[in-house]
């Protein structure tokens, strides 16, 4: 280790060479190389964490660049892990960087995490977050949690020295579409930077023993007001007793919705014209729609559902299948006996089959 490199932090008397050597000996796995993962990886690498693992299987997209600041324009369409590994090596050639070019799955999670001392949950979806939690509990690894919503973020430290876990805060995974993600709901570019940096700070504190970690405390940050809240919470011992992963970490949908694949739907509409409600916004509808579709935006369904005939089947479509599912759920609540069918994959999928419309 080149000690001059870390001079400015080793001269801190609370830190010193002792803490630096602990960083160097540590093996940290970062799950996700996106908005949160980028600052976590960049700063842990800069500060001298000896071994960094990265799990991601995504490619860089143009709409990532406003918040995922490790990536340049020329990296668009390249795998995030490959780009990240190259840039992190240029930043600090002393770090051992291990690329896991895969998403974390029920099948690989235990095997991957077992090699590390500590995990950072920098993922962007609930299934991965619950999988990280359960795998870390099973393997007895602490992990640092960070998550975002618009201008807000949450940070905590879970499963650390007998402390509480993610399930002690949120026992069960929300259902699909109960809570939107960044891609649907949006996020201000700087917010993952702030939350990711707080995650990196917690990693340093956990490894070196310096300061007070957020174990047992949920930090809530509101960027719009610069308000910070720390919520104390206790461990529920049941949540430390996880012995095996769940059979599945897919969203389970309590409300079963009749669905049809876009391929089957295509076959039907080649023969018959059906009643199709398109619940997208008028702007989206204008851009492209099936000629026989009727546009009732999801937000107007409450006032305008009487424009629909419930004597015949009601097919519901949107762009990707998410809002149409909500539309079906809503209509089911109003007309319990109606024949409601969600078109899976929405216009994104249909356009592959029905270029003529």
């Amino acid at each position: 280790m080149n000690t001059e490199r870390y001079d400015r932090q080793t001269i801190l008397k609370e830190f010193g060479m002792e803490a630096q050597l602990k960083l160097q000996a540590a093996k940290v796995l970062v799950v996700g190389a996106g908005g949160l993962g980028v600052p976590v990886l960049t700063y842990l690498n800069a500060m001298g964490v000896g071994t960094l693992g990265i799990v991601d299987n995504d490619v860089v997209s143009l709409s990532n660049l406003h918040r995922q600041v490790l990536y340049a324009e020329k990296d668009v369409d390249n795998p995030k892990v490959a780009v990240a590994v190259q840039k992190l090596k240029e930043q600090n050639s002393e770090t051992e960087i291990i690329a896991h070019e895969t998403f974390l799955t029920r099948e690989n999670a235990l095997e991957i995490i077992a090699h590390y001392d500590l995990v950072v949950d920098a993922s962007d979806n609930f299934p991965t977050r619950y999988l990280v939690n359960d795998a870390c509990v099973i393997l007895n690894k602490p992990f640092v949690y960070g998550a975002l919503h618009s201008f807000e973020g949450q940070v905590s430290v879970f499963n650390f020295e007998g402390g509480p876990t993610y399930r002690c805060l949120f026992p069960e995974m929300p259902k699909a579409d109960e809570v939107p993600n960044c891609n649907e709901n949006g996020v201000l570019g700087i917010v993952p930077g702030i939350i990711g940096n707080f995650q990196a700070l917690e990693v340093v504190k956990m490894i070196t023993g310096i300061g007070e970690t957020l174990s047992g405390k949920l930090l809530l940050c509101d960027g719009l007001s610069n308000n910070f809240q720390k919520i104390r919470f206790a461990v529920n011992p049941d949540n430390l007793n996880i012995k095996t992963l769940q059979d599945s970490y897919d969203f389970d949908c309590e409300v079963p919705v009749s669905s049809i694949s876009s391929e089957t739907f295509h076959k039907i509409i080649e023969k018959d014209e059906v009643q199709l409600i398109d619940v997208r916004t008028p702007t989206e509808f204008e851009r492209n729609h099936l000629s026989f579709a009727k546009n009732i935006p999801l937000s107007e369904l409450n006032e305008r559902h009487n424009e629909i005939s419930f004597k015949v089947p009601v097919y519901v479509v949107c762009q990707s299948g998410v809002r149409s599912r909500k539309g079906v759920e809503f209509l089911e609540g109003v007309y319990a006996n109606a024949n409601l069918i969600n078109v899976e994959g929405g216009m994104n999928e249909i356009s592959k089959y029905v270029v003529k419309y």
Binding site: G32, D124, F170, E172, Q229, I231
Partner: protein
Amino acid sequence: MEVLLFGIAKDIVGRSSFRFEEGDEVPKSVLELKQKLKNSFPDFGKLSSLAIAVNSEYAEDGMDLNRGDEVAVIPPVSGG
């Protein structure tokens, strides 16, 4: 009683906090608060998982509430 709203709870209500004033009927428990939220804003009915903190401490449904309490409504958030 001041109620602070985070994540999608803030989006549902359309503001980051609200207050039960003198004279308002204040919910007597966490469960009652959740029920009140669902009645006023049906979208809360969709949220299966909602953490509540009373005076910066995580609270179960059975927890009593008092007029002077500060309550935080914290849905899970998934973004990264």
